[in-house]
Structure formats: structure tokens, C-alpha cells
């Protein structure tokens, strides 16, 4: 399978490497997944006789902080990729570590929000707003965790850094594209669930 063409070099007529095309197709599918949930949100909210005041129910400052954290981690992800492309291992480790830290901080803040809701007796079963809130942010958190697993792997296993540097850099780029997508989903979730 090492003989497969276009894993690291772009096919001339499409201008793409296979992994890059693959991740974009994967994200297209993810768009449909979250799109379905956003549609469900719209249908439930427009059909409901009563909808709670979202910004009163949820903690907007904490979520704003989380938005900053996640966007910052996207920036460090790009810097990690640039460092990998430049062949600077210590700089790569620094920024990849910061990206992981950003993801972890995001989850910690999310956990604080969740436990605060639970301690006030607010559960998914309380009403449909909280139900869709917990479902969508929970699914998003699973995506954050998945991204962190990939990033941790890329931080820890650097044998490929020495043996096939171009392929390693491409992997960081692919992981980055996914990480930015997770970020973008949150940028939609934040106003829809907290502010509107």
C-alpha cells in the first residue's frame, strides 16, 4: 500500500492529495450531521408554544470565554503546522501542546457549565431547549475529544517526522482542517444556543 500514488504529492489534474480530498468529504458529511441537528432545533423551537430565554438559562460569559479558547487553539494549530513545515521540532511541539491545552481547557469550562446546570436541577429531560442544548454541545464535545486524540497522537509519535517528513506535515494539516471544522461548529452553536 506504500505504492499508492498521490498520498503525499498532488495529482496533477485534480491538484489534490488523496488525504486532503478525503478529509473534505468527511467534513461534508459532518456538515450534514450538524445541519440535521440545527434543522431539528429550528423545527422544535418554531413549533413550541413556549421557549425559555436562552441567555438567561445558560452562562453567556463562560461560553464567550470558551469561544476565545477554541479560536485561539485553531491559531496555535496553524502555527504548529507551519512549524512542522519549517522542520522546527521544538516549536512544533510547543504549538501542538498549546492546541491540546486549548482543547482541554474548553472541555473543562464545558464540564463546569454542565455541572452547574445539573446542580440547579436542569437536565436534558427538563425541556426541549435543554435537551437540544445538551445533545448538540455533547456531540460537539465528542468531536473535540476525537480531535484531541488525533493531535495527541501527532504530538507523541514523531518517528514519521524523521522518516517521511512531508507525509507527517500533511497529516498535521489534515488534523488541522478537522480541528478548524470543530471550531466552526462551535461558532455556530454559540450564538444559536446562547444568544438568539
Amino acid at each position: 500500500m506504500d505504492a499508492l500514488p498521490y498520498t503525499t504529492t498532488a495529482r496533477p489534474d485534480t491538484g489534490l492529495t488523496s488525504p486532503k480530498l478525503g478529509i473534505w468529504l468527511f467534513l461534508a458529511s459532518e456538515v450534514m450531521l450538524f445541519g440535521s441537528l440545527f434543522s431539528a432545533y429550528v423545527l422544535l423551537r418554531t413549533g413550541a408554544p413556549f421557549w425559555p430565554d436562552q441567555s438567561e438559562t445558560l452562562n453567556v460569559p463562560l461560553a464567550a470565554l470558551n469561544t476565545v479558547i477554541l479560536i485561539s487553539s485553531s491559531v496555535t494549530m496553524v502555527l504548529a503546522w507551519a512549524a512542522a513545515a519549517a522542520g522546527n521540532l521544538s516549536r512544533y511541539r510547543l504549538f501542538m501542546g498549546l492546541t491540546l491545552l486549548g482543547g482541554a481547557l474548553f472541555l473543562v469550562v464545558k464540564a463546569i457549565e454542565y455541572s452547574d446546570k445539573f446542580s440547579h436541577g436542569l437536565y436534558p429531560s427538563t425541556n426541549n431547549f435543554l435537551a437540544i442544548y445538551f445533545t448538540m454541545t455533547g456531540l460537539h464535545a465528542i468531536h473535540v475529544i476525537a480531535g484531541m486524540v488525533v493531535n495527541a497522537y501527532l504530538l507523541g509519535v514523531t518517528r514519521m517526522w524523521r522518516e517521511d517528513h512531508l507525509r507527517f506535515t500533511n497529516r498535521v494539516e489534515i488534523a488541522g482542517i478537522y480541528w478548524h471544522f470543530v471550531d466552526v461548529v462551535w461558532i455556530f452553536l454559540f450564538p444559536v444556543l446562547y444568544l438568539l
Binding site: 500500500m1 499508492l4 458529511s29 440535521s36 423545527l43 413549533g47 413550541a48
Partner: protein, 555 residues
């Protein structure tokens, strides 16, 4: 040796794993329906089939046939094995993701089968799992949801792999309009899987939340079950499930149909010795089908009271989508004109596919129009309609594909006599099963009835058909024995085949037989011509393979 095959990343081995697993599930799904038909033929005389069990058999028959049988065989097995060969690629673009896709499928299948042993029994809300019924079903329904999540993830991994492979790994010279029609069909199918399945994923997550976390996404306020008010928050929407389910469900119909059309195109061109009629038009029709299949879903929901305006929109798109289907089927039939037809087993299945699929399609028209759908909805007519499409339609195409590509895969032919008995018996039996369903449905007999309609007076004149259909189903099972015996006996002692036994033109026949593990081709192939250059004037042979540069060279 055996275990090494279970974890091989070679697309051919994965294709065969998919093939054998999905054939096993087709058999399981068939056995389930045979038990159901037994109950329907002799209601009250089979005390061990309780109504709950009957419902479970029905739900799992549908789920297994669609998600674990036909689609994995059409896409996972045929797509995996044939597509890389036809585009001249050494493997799929992502071999390990390909293997992961198989294992998610296998685990999903095991979870589905395990649901039979779940406390409270198998899922029994039909293959569509409509709430609120599904929300209150026993724990088997939760198994169903987790099984579906695995299957959806599997098909996502498969779909992105197919699309990437077809875009990136085409051999030099194999331009888009030199691709065999089968590859085009798999390409469009992969997009449907990629973009439609996530809707069911979302729906399964929501129903899982309803069942596990006590939410009420699909439960309206004030719902009363068994005389008691349900203690949930309410304000949910039962139609939300139906919209999400059918947003997947209708493209899924084309996932069942398009690969079958692809197989038929390959089998027909090989056995009529002339090019496919209207190749480009057929490809354009595929695109239109793929696009329109995303905006017809609510024709499954005319009776939900969603309003005449929305019904009008969806019945218009439904009428429009029949046009590209008719184009493809007509082109396939027109291709026969003036051909020099070989009536071997794969060709017989392909020839039968066309009228059977046509019948399935035509019986669908009254269901696509709101006014005629109202009396027919949820009757056996619907069951007859879609079984004509899937059983003597798609499954016949899959049989044609097995008989057609068996020599390439194993180096041996399947037995022609056994194959012809299998074909004739299946054709007669299937019509005896499904045509009476149309008659019963027109009389008004509902589907999913444990007693087959015996408790309704209006069903009295057509009740005798239940026995006919059941006996035909047993007969169908009998004729499948010829296939099973043929498959295993031919594997060891069939007539040996050369590299290109059918004298076909597409690239899969340019490999050695069987293709080389991990790499397929002796040398990387190059395509010089269109996919179906049969009977070209001036050529020495009546077929010019795509990888032959000079047409006077002969082969």
C-alpha cells in the same frame, strides 16, 4: 491464514469479506421473512409466533435486508472489488479506512442480531422506527439505534473512500467519460451515502436521547400511553423523526438501485457485443437522479397532514425524478436492439431485471401522487411495489454480478445449468410472491398485520392469496439452494476461466485471473479508448479492451 484475511487491507479481500457477510445477512433476512410468511399462511396455527415476535421479525427483516444485506453487497462487496479494478488502480485510496469500514459494518450487524436476545425482545417498530411507538418499545430498539450508528459510520468511511479513489486513482488515459457506467453509478451512490446518511445519524442520536436521557424530541405534550399520561416535558414533534428518516430513506432507495443499474450495464454490454446505447445521457441521468433524490423524501409522508402545498411540491419532484430512471432503463432496453445476444446466466438475470424493475417503477407512480397515495398508503400494495424494485430488481442484478464476475474472482465459471434453474425458479417464485401483494393492497389489506388481514371482512376475497404467496416464498427458498450449491461447488471444481473469459473490454479483465494481491495489475494499465468498444468496424476481434492501443493489433 483465515485470520490474516480478516484484517487484510487489500480491497479484493475486503470486498470478499463484505460479500460473504452480506450474503449471510441476506439469508438471515430471508429466513426471518419465511417465518413471517408461515404465520401469514396459517394464522392461529403457529402459536409460537406471537404478535410481538411477528413485529420483531418484520422490523429486522427490513433492517437486515436493506442495511446489512443489499447495500453492503452492492456497494461494499461489488464496489470494493470491482471499482479499483475498473479504474486501473492498485487499491482503494485509503486501504486501512476500508478495513475499518468493514469492521464497523460487522459490529453493527452483530449488534442488530444481538437485539433478538435483548430484554423485551427484538426492535418491533418496523424498519422505519417511527416514534412515539419506537420511544416506548423494549430495549431491542436501543440496540437498533446503536447498530445503525455503527452502520452509518461504516458507510461514511466507505463513501469517502470510493469518491476519493475514483477521483484520484484513475489510470492514465482513463478520463471521466471513459469510465465504465458501473463506476459512475458507484460514484453517485457514494455521494448519496455520504450526504444522506448523517440525517439518520442525527435522528438516531435524538431518539437515543429520548430513550436513555428522557428527553422528548419526538413526544408531543399530553401523550397518553396505555391509559396513562406520559411524564415527559413534551412539546416534541413526531414528524421530525419522519423528516430526518426519509431524508436518508429516499436517497437510500437510489443507493439500492444505482449500483444495480451499473451492474446491469456491464453485463448487458458484454453479452450483446455492442456499445452501451446513450452512455453520456445515462451518466447525466445519474447526476439528475442523485440530485433529485434529496428533494423527494416527503412523498412517504402524504398522510401525515403536512399540508397540500408541501404535498404538491413533493409530488412534482417525485414525478420529475421518474424521468431519469426511465431514461436509464430505456437506454438499457434500446441497447439490446441489433445486438448479438448471448443468453448465459448473468445475461438472463440482467434481461429479467428490466421488466421487473419497470414493473416496480410503474407501480410506484400512484404512490408518488398524493390523491392516489391516500387509499394505497400502508397497504400491501406498497410492499409489493418496493419489493419488485429490490428483489427481482436489485437482487437479480446482484445475482447477475456474481455470475458475471465470479470467473475473474476465482478463476472458475459457475455452473450454467444450476444457474439457469436458479434463475427460472427465482423469477417465477418472486412474481408469485409480489404480484398478489399488489392485488391485496388494491383491495385495501394493510401491511404489517399479524393475521394477514383475517380479522377484516373486506379482505375475505383476497385472503387465499396469503397461502399462495407463502408457498411461493418457500419455493423461492428452495431455488436458492441451487445458487448456494453452485457457489461452493464451482469454487472448487468449476470450469477454469482465462483472464478475460467473456471477451469484455473494461479494465478489470486486463488483470491476471485472479488479480494480483496488493496491486492487481501486472503492469500499471493505461486506457486508450471508451469503455464499451464492441464490434468496432475494421478491428480484428469484436472487442477492443480499453488498455489496447492499436485497434489493428488484435488481442
Amino acid at each position: 491464514m483465515f485470520f490474516r484475511h480478516l484484517f487484510s487491507t487489500d480491497h479484493k479481500v475486503i470486498g470478499l469479506l463484505y460479500g460473504f457477510t452480506s450474503l449471510f445477512f441476506l439469508l438471515v433476512g430471508f429466513v426471518l421473512v419465511v417465518i413471517m410468511r408461515w404465520q401469514l399462511a396459517y394464522p392461529g396455527r403457529t402459536p409460537w409466533i406471537a404478535p410481538e415476535m411477528y413485529n420483531g421479525l418484520g422490523a429486522l427483516h427490513g433492517t437486515i435486508m436493506v442495511f446489512l444485506g443489499v447495500v453492503p453487497l452492492a456497494v461494499g462487496a461489488f464496489g470494493n472489488y470491482v471499482v479499483p479494478l475498473q479504474i486501473g488502480a492498485p487499491d482503494m485510496a485509503f486501504p486501512r479506512i476500508n478495513l475499518a469500514s468493514y469492521w464497523f459494518y460487522a459490529v453493527g450487524g452483530i449488534i442488530m442480531l444481538a437485539s433478538f436476545f435483548a430484554p423485551g425482545g427484538a426492535p418491533m417498530s418496523g424498519w422505519t422506527s417511527y416514534p412515539p411507538l419506537a420511544n416506548f418499545a423494549p430495549s431491542g430498539q436501543t440496540f437498533w439505534l446503536f447498530g445503525m450508528l455503527c452502520l452509518i459510520f461504516s458507510s461514511l468511511l466507505g463513501a469517502l473512500n470510493f469518491i476519493t479513489t475514483i477521483i484520484q486513482l484513475r489510470a492514465p488515459g482513463l478520463t471521466w467519460f471513459r469510465l465504465p457506467f458501473f463506476v459512475w453509478a458507484q460514484f453517485i451512490t457514494a455521494f448519496l451515502l455520504l450526504l444522506a446518511f448523517p440525517a439518520l445519524q442525527a435522528a438516531a442520536v435524538l431518539q437515543g436521547m429520548d430513550r436513555i436521557a428522557g428527553t422528548s424530541f419526538f413526544l408531543p405534550s399530553g401523550l397518553v400511553v396505555s391509559g396513562e399520561r406520559v411524564g415527559v416535558a413534551g412539546d416534541g414533534n413526531v414528524l421530525l423523526w419522519q423528516h430526518l428518516f426519509w431524508f436518508l430513506g429516499h436517497p437510500e432507495v437510489y443507493v439500492l438501485v444505482l449500483p444495480a443499474m451499473g451492474i446491469i450495464a456491464e453485463v448487458i454490454t458484454t453479452n450483446i457485443r455492442k456499445p452501451l446505447w446513450g452512455y453520456r445521457l445515462m451518466v447525466y441521468a445519474l447526476f439528475v437522479l442523485g440530485f433529485l433524490s434529496f428533494i423527494v423524501w416527503a412523498h412517504h409522508m402524504f398522510l401525515t397532514g403536512m399540508g397540500t402545498t408541501i404535498s404538491a411540491f413533493f409530488q412534482a419532484t417525485t414525478m420529475i425524478i421518474s424521468i431519469p430512471s426511465v431514461i436509464i432503463l430505456s437506454a438499457l432496453i434500446l441497447a439490446l436492439y441489433g445486438g448479438s445476444i448471448r443468453f448465459n446466466t448473468p445475461m438472463l438475470f440482467a434481461l429479467a431485471f428490466m421488466p421487473m424493475f419497470g414493473l416496480g417503477g410503474l407501480t410506484g407512480l400512484p404512490l408518488g401522487l398524493a390523491a392516489t397515495d391516500i387509499p394505497l398508503h400502508d397497504t400491501n400494495y406498497v410492499v409489493g411495489h418496493f419489493h419488485y424494485l429490490v428483489a427481482p430488481g436489485t437482487i437479480f442484478a446482484l445475482f447477475a454480478g456474481i455470475y458475471h464476475w465470479f470467473p475473474k474472482i476465482t478463476g472458475r465459471f459457475m455452473n450454467e445449468t444450476l444457474g439457469k434453474i436458479h434463475f427460472a425458479g427465482s423469477l417465477v417464485a418472486m412474481n408469485l410472491i409480489f404480484f398478489p401483494m399488489l392485488i391485496q393492497g388494491l383491495t385495501g389489506v394493510n401491511r404489517r398485520l399479524w393475521d394477514g388481514g383475517a380479522s377484516y371482512q373486506f379482505a375475505e376475497p383476497v385472503l387465499f392469496l396469503n397461502t399462495t404467496m407463502s408457498h411461493a416464498a418457500f419455493l423461492l427458498g428452495f431455488f436458492q439452494l441451487f445458487f448456494i450449491v453452485n457457489l461452493f461447488v464451482s469454487l472448487r471444481s468449476g470450469r477454469t476461466a482465462t483472464a478475460n473469459p467473456w471477451e469484455a473490454t473494461t479494465l478489470e479483465w486486463a488483470t491476471p485471473t485472479p488479480p494480483i494481491p496488493h496491486g492487481n495489475f501486472a503492469q500499471p494499465p493505461r486506457a486508450y479508448r471508451d469503455p464499451y468498444e464492441y464490434s468496432v468496424p475494421g478491428a480484428r476481434t469484436d472487442f477492443l479492451p480499453q488498455n489496447v492501443a492499436d485497434e489493428r493489433a488484435g488481442t
